[in-house]
């Protein structure tokens, strides 16, 4: 499969920072892949999303060495959705249409993309509402829809369910495989390893700005199930989810 984004030996340092946020990171994400990025605070998962999408260093400054190649268009969803509103639109419909309209598309395809994206996120009923008056969960759906409306080839999500209730978070994660089947490459950074493990096709674990593991999703050993199995004396590899734990105890 062709890689949508490729990083080779990428080292990145924020302006004025004492140390590198990313150090010698090499990573490719192909169309149709859902890669879960895991790591404790400061591991570099959010920075990796900024670098992969080109936001760093272009918009945040800093210095980058190594190479980054992106084939196609990318979109990023930040964990705090209110930082991502345009501030220019008085309705959700306009907010979601803002991205495709800025790409210079004609009116019909703009409205079609925006409509599809709102439908996918289940926010069609919010179309005439003012984005400034939405709850955190509603806003997060609007921001995801506004990025999807641009039909990116690479979708980067930074803790995209932080504001959502469990049903909303499940719905958002359930949407990812459908997007990947359509050919999107997806990078999702989140501390919610259980949900990430349930949809990801691959896991990349970062620590101190370096990739320390890259492979199948059972690498997400921080999941509650793995921690329980470890504490109960199960030998590694620790089961990542309940069904595999049950198989390991012979059920």
């Amino acid at each position: 499969m062709t890689a949508v984004v490729t990083l080779e030996g990428v080292t990145f340092r924020y302006p004025g920072a004492a140390r590198e946020a990313l150090c010698g990171v090499s990573l490719g994400v192909a169309a149709g892949e859902i890669v879960a990025l895991a790591g404790d605070a400061g591991a570099g998962t959010s920075t990796l999303l900024l670098v992969a999408t080109g936001f760093a260093p272009r918009l945040v400054g800093g210095t980058l060495t190594g190479t980054r190649r992106l084939a196609g268009r990318c979109g990023i969803v930040f964990s705090r959705p209110w930082t991502q509103l345009t501030g220019l639109c008085s309705t959700v419909g306009d907010e979601v249409a803002f991205g495709p309209a800025s790409l210079g598309l004609a009116r019909e395809p703009v409205l079609a993309s925006a409509g599809r994206a709102m439908e996918r996120l289940g926010i069609t009923h919010l179309a005439t509402r003012d984005p400034a008056h939405l709850s955190g969960g509603e806003l997060q759906r609007v921001v995801v829809a506004s990025v999807l409306a641009m039909e990116p080839d690479l979708l980067a999500l930074d803790d995209p369910a932080a504001e959502l209730d469990p049903a909303g978070a499940d719905a958002l994660y359930a949407l990812l495989p459908a997007l990947a089947v359509g050919g999107m490459a997806i990078l999702v950074a989140t501390p919610d390893l259980e949900r990430a493990a349930s949809v990801a096709t691959r896991a990349v674990v970062l620590a101190g700005g370096r990739v320390v593991a890259d492979g199948p999703t059972h690498l997400l050993e921080g999941t509650g199930v793995a921690a329980i199995a470890r504490a109960a004396g199960c030998p590694p590899p620790y089961p990542p989810d309940v069904p595999s734990l049950l198989r390991r105890v012979g059920r």
Binding site: A41, G42, A229, R248, V249
Partner: protein, 271 residues
Amino acid sequence: MSGGDVRVESVRYAYGDLEALRGVTLTIRAGETVALLGPNGAGKTTLTRLLVALLRPAVGRVTVGDWDVARKRPDEMAGRVGYVFQHADQQLFARSVREDVAFGPRQLGRAAASVVPVLDELGLMPVAAVHPYDVPPPVRKLVALAGVLVMEPAVLVLDEPTAGLDRQQRERVIGALRRRAAAGVTVLVVSHDLAFVAELVERVVVLREGRVAADRSARELLYDRGALAALELTPPVTVEIGQALRLPGAPIRTAEVAAALRGTKWRESAE
């Protein structure tokens, strides 16, 4: 009556035409640990804001200990009820993490002796001299929590305290809150994170459309599949494992499930 008793009596609150609370009655005894659950828009945050006088009930009465909250200002309430906002950025303003945490006690003319132990407890000593806005958002959340813990309030109200936190930070928050609860502090958490709720609380109150839809022991509710499904909640993995293996004692905490599984003959692989 202890300063940590919380009473909410027939409270209603509306934002314009939107009725957020439609008659909520709730009593929480000093030292109880309670989780407030419910879907987005159920009225959880509204209820917690009423406890610290950030909002005033249109109808009904809220008391904390012997204080009628309607007669208190938010700054007076801060001495008795510590509130950590869902978005920590709303409550940080000093030039360093240490100064931010020390602000509360200083305003009340109290000694700041507990600042360092609290910073240490939450793993914040390495960033004590850093500007709060120069630390990552999850760490800011811990700074806001530290600023509240250092005030030693009788009641702690925390809105989504674990959102965005990594494992280690979560463990620290759980540990800090368990220690406060053991010392008799009332702990009320608003959370969508049922795994966290299972680790911490003994009682769960579910709000739906501005009303109390359930008020039960956490263990009982988490093992009641029908009730959880009706509330559109998924049990945490601890409960899934406990149910699948019929573990004794209805374990809900990681340590309880691990203890129940100790001595298991594990297969080498899941194949």
